[in-house]
Assembly symmetry: C2
Amino acid sequence: MITEFATRRQNLFVQFIVLVLAVLSAGYAHAADPLPSWNDGAAKSAIIDFVTKVTTPGAPDFVPESERIAVFDNDGVLWPENPIPFQMAFAVDEAKRHAAEDPKIAADPMVKALLAGDYDKLMAGPHHEGLLQIINITHSGMTTDEFAKAVEAWIATAKHPRFDVLYDQLTYQPMQEVLAFMRANGFTTYIVSGGGADFMRVWSDRVYGIPPGQVVGSTARVKYELRDSGPVLVKTMDNLFVDDKAGKPAGIYQFIGKRPIAVFGNSDGDKEMLEYGTIANPRPSLGVIIRHTDGEREYQYDVNPKSSGTLVEALKDAPKRGWTVVSMKDDWKTVFAPK
Amino acid sequence: MITEFATRRQNLFVQFIVLVLAVLSAGYAHAADPLPSWNDGAAKSAIIDFVTKVTTPGAPDFVPESERIAVFDNDGVLWPENPIPFQMAFAVDEAKRHAAEDPKIAADPMVKALLAGDYDKLMAGPHHEGLLQIINITHSGMTTDEFAKAVEAWIATAKHPRFDVLYDQLTYQPMQEVLAFMRANGFTTYIVSGGGADFMRVWSDRVYGIPPGQVVGSTARVKYELRDSGPVLVKTMDNLFVDDKAGKPAGIYQFIGKRPIAVFGNSDGDKEMLEYGTIANPRPSLGVIIRHTDGEREYQYDVNPKSSGTLVEALKDAPKRGWTVVSMKDDWKTVFAPK
């Protein structure tokens, strides 16, 4: 009896040790470096400190999981946007493919300009009518399934002109780590991009672990038809919603329905979304701007405000808003995720 | 030593029994009646059988959790839509409140008609211009926060004219059970309603356990402004998207980004959504129509195709589409969820 009692005490002791270890290892989930591709510095600390404080139970800045909404621009934040945004490269390749298959499309003056490399003609006019026509041809008229198949085929084969790898092999490793770190800490991660939602949703889950329903992007109406083969949705360009600038907080409100507490952007197109997340938010919040300062490993366009990803106003506002500015050159140990 | 060994064996035995019980109880999660407010019959069986077959690992009809998308119309499926849709009751009450506070609104001819009970005037014209004006006054011009506060205040106080309880106390208990049953089995449940998304999102989580991001409804543009008090979104009536009829599959595609495998509707407004979920869907699917057959406990409008919730075409299609038709009178033991 006494032996049994002693053994039970021993068992209890072992159980206690296991419990202590479990608690310790849970408490130390943050201890292993969650952002190994980031150099130590203010930017890395700002992200880790923010996640730590909103996830520490009982702390004054604690935020319940359901409200841990993090939004990320895509082009220039999760992957590059040079030499042209990747969706534009898709549109160019698709226009050529359509032209080869359909003489009527080949005869379109704007497609002709594209094939002749006359980009000035495409960009002429206040609304870049030529460019819009290329987008129209490549992004409407087909069913959503046909469009998804075209995107899948393109992203499985097309290569980036400078890095000579598939486009989806050019995601930023430091940002993949931020996505994983935030999700491991109960955040829901959303893409909020000026890019087309239908374009991104095809590969967002595979490439970023972000399912279609968490991708907010530019959209246009789709038209329902019941065909002999079954129901389809046909893409149109009607009621275009451009998820950029003031459209971003609007898109967040309508698609997510909650105010974000963490916002990652890289250009003036993200300024309103950064404001929406961080100004007069009753919860603690984090605003981060990824600045493209690394011409050697990626592209340096912080100095050229006319390039894609113009960053002038948001950068000016950063100090007064308390936004963290990340220098890709200085803050990132690695740029691209390993293949 | 031997005693210790025996005790360890004993401990292992206890652990084994606990494990067996855990496995058994997991396997028997379906054994307790998940839909106690449903009378036994074809409708109840159809729902339970469907959930069982898509969640049985290794079975030919197994569907992974990420694809278990269930969509529910709201008015007439999760709560009543009589004598008028509840959001319309909100609009009427709000128009009166605005009129009492603002002489300019009180002077509006359509508000005057409303206050005088002249509903014919409101409903006149091909687009019911009077009604639209009432919706305009009560659903636009304010910030999204102001609108949410107005909805909260209304739903906390306004009472249903017949049942004399708060509107959110009139949800259907059998459907609350379906929502809970499907979620317990790895489904994500969405509202897909012709009602305003902004109206429903205020209370959908509390009332149905459906968070704002899983509510698809009619929407119009919101306009971002950075005011001295902080960022706001102002409601407009621009680019109105009506999430009804062919709009429902379009809304599902744009907001959820996945095809549903379970669709619950009650009217012809749900026909296209039922088609989208169940015709030529590569996955197994379930279509359910809730038929309002119970004038005593709720409203009987299956016989009056001109009332709210017209159900003619979808009902005609039900047999050939394999949709399950639920008779509220015969299939539901209880109608309303307990207060």
